[in-house]
Symmetry: C2
Subunit: 423 residues, 2 copies
């Protein structure tokens, strides 16, 4: 039974909730791309962000060539005869001479088309005759099985632009135009720590011996993995005790050598949190109450250990595991990509059909843990509490649900697959 | 102009085209999970496959605790008064004593709920009075802001099953129940090489000096990156000359130390290919003509250097870059996951709406390079030639188009995002 006395929440001044998009835009405006690029082997550049436009100095393919094993022919010859003299043999890596009329060149995949020929008949569509000639079993059409010079890449073209995050396919493309090394932005150096006297590291205390109120630190495990997937150099600074002096010292040390200091816990309004005064002692801090669920408290600041020292970014994530996980994906991921100079920051969002009910609207924008059914629809994890990390393991993505919105079966929702948020 | 003589392709016997699903099932039936597991730090287990069920030996949370900073109260007290005496203070990591009637406990996020209390009123919904008491500004409902013991994980539950591929969130979950180390299947050892005398390594020859018929090797760059993303230990064996003796020697050497030998090129029907006789000299080989486009030729075999030597898997991918890329994702990726004992092998497929025309049906199942429009529909890369790697860089996924199927704007198609095929 809930009493209904006329006491309003409005009796106390509240920090206004900030819309996510507004907070993200402000965060990104603080993220100037880092100065300095690395030259790395193209083999090792997967996931890195290109620091310069990649311009091709050649056509790919460099010559018209065969995309099949077979015979290069003059297609018009077929109007006269289906049997041709084989006058040359062109393997990949070699090159032939001009093809005479009513003749064929034995040719292999990747080998250049000889002058005069305009089509390739694949081997399976031919019959080798005992006298060395070849019979064509299908009529060749001009251009058939010929890969044109420059079809893949034209000389002078920007093949991959600055700011492109490199994928396996783009490494292959860079190699195909002769780049053995690539200029990429340097990795972001991140110092990672957790705060909270209740935290115990797995391995330090056995489950049976856990004291009342103690919990295992889990945030640092997934935060580190998420940072590694984004190509960061991570320094793990461990668990910082809930004391102001210890927190100030950790932050000052970290700021000298890192681009970003990332913490989880210690950013809510409770007085046990020493993150705020510690960051403020070393620089500036903005505490945000984000209008999202999970993930309301979020802190951004800049710190430096001395006026002449480098200035590091500070981001404080909420301590609840799911809140920490979600705010990392929505805010820290694009922030880190921007620091690397990447142009594509938004995760892939797809329309999908809900196969569940979410009857209670929230005033905050919600990120619900869901997974795809074999039918293509989405099912909801029953417990959407932010303390329940199992929802993020069970799920394969988030539904981005606008404020004040309920969801019913059959509704089309905005689905963010983890696959595109985690890399 | 195409001549139309009555010559039929059926005049020659052809190898029958094999459906992809049938070929994949046969390939997977050869992939027994590797023997042997590694014990790795939970910090380093992202992407690895769990070798044993992970069973929790504790409840998470271990005790009912507060999910907010605020005051733990007896909710029924609010029927009598909205002002409570603050009789104790419970920080995260400490624990309180039984809460008296008409009293409140100052409590912080993560701290255990004291006996007697059944709700938490968050700090923002209270007013601290000058005499040390607290006024509740909103009525508490039973259970409010309380995280229940075992809500996340119940003791004895299998939290992560054997065969689960670990993600950042699952590392966090494993840590939250006290696992500092995890038993995971060992990495797959893969020897990677390319064949083809036309291949030149980027950096070895400048673009301006490329001889006629020469092309830069690009497949090894993306294949290596794809293998690394799947957690493989990759040995790069370079480009093997187009000679039988060299090919046999490379395969024999590689088979002794690797689980899989992966090549690209040399599996089509051309007589310049020495892969087939080389693999056959050392074991067995099946050449498949897959009923897919791109990616028709595909080879699978087993080889060993001597009767007492270990037997390695052999997979030969087509040499065309896009064919090689697509067959890796569709066949090699699930094969490697199965070798690691993973249970989830299929990529994420989603229904999506085509915003393009594909008017010419093919008898083979096609994998078209597409990318998502901001509207959520899909657009098609204009040049779907298998030599054109730019399509895989431009695109963000594949449309899996059944044999004999045309596509028109508005049709719902099966979309495979690269994000789920590349990890």
């Amino acid at each position: 039974m809930t009493p209904t006395l006329p006491l309003s929440a409005a009796a106390l001044p509240r920090a206004p909730l900030r819309p996510l998009d507004e907070a993200l835009a402000e965060l990104l405006s603080s993220a100037s791309p880092l100065v300095g690029a690395d030259s790395v082997s193209t083999f090792d550049a997967d996931g890195r962000v290109l620091a310069v436009d990649l311009v091709s100095s050649l056509d790919v393919p460099g010559h018209d060539n065969s995309s099949m094993d077979g015979y290069a022919v003059r297609s018009a010859d077929f109007l006269q005869t289906d049997v041709l003299q084989v006058t040359q043999r062109i393997a990949a890596g070699s090159h032939g001479h001009a093809l005479e009329p009513l003749a064929a060149a034995r040719i292999f995949t990747g080998a250049p088309i000889p002058p005069g020929a305009d089509a390739v008949v694949m081997q399976e569509d031919t019959e080798a005759l005992s006298d060395g000639r070849v019979r064509l079993l299908t009529p060749p059409s001009p251009g058939q099985w010929v890969r044109r010079r420059g079809e893949d890449v034209a000389r002078g073209a920007v093949v991959l632009p600055r700011g492109e995050r490199l994928s396996p396919a783009s490494l292959g493309l860079a190699a195909s135009i002769g780049f053995a090394r690539l200029q990429v932005s340097r990795p972001v150096r991140v110092a990672l720590f957790s705060t909270g006297d209740e935290l115990v590291m797995p391995g330090d205390v056995a489950p049976a011996d856990m004291p009342v109120g103690a919990i295992y630190n889990s945030n640092r495990f997934f935060l580190r993995a998420l940072l590694m997937r984004l190509g960061c150099q991570v320094t793990d600074m461990g668990i910082v005790p809930d004391r102001l002096d210890a927190t100030v010292q950790s932050l000052a040390e970290a700021s000298a050598q890192h681009d970003l200091i990332l913490t989880s816990g210690g950013v809510s309004v409770g007085e046990e949190d020493h993150i705020k005064p510690a960051v403020q002692a070393l620089g500036e801090l903005t505490l945000w109450q984000l209008a999202i669920k999970p993930g309301k408290p979020f802190a951004y600041g800049r710190i430096q250990s001395a006026s002449t020292a480098p200035r590091a970014h500070f981001i404080g994530l909420p301590g609840n595991p799911v809140s920490s996980f979600v705010t990392f994906m929505l805010l820290v991921r694009p922030f880190l990509l921007r620091l690397q100079g990447a142009t594509e920051l938004a995760p892939q969002a797809l329309p999908a059909v809900a196969r569940f009910s979410w009857p209670k609207a929230d005033k905050r924008r919600e990120f619900l843990r869901v997974r795809r059914l074999p039918s293509g629809g989405l099912e909801l994890y029953a417990n959407q509490s932010s303390g329940v990390l199992t929802s993020a393991v069970w799920g394969d993505g988030l539904v981005d649900n606008p404020p004040g919105q309920t969801i019913g079966p059959g509704d089309v929702v905005r689905y963010l697959p983890f696959a595109s948020l985690l890399c």
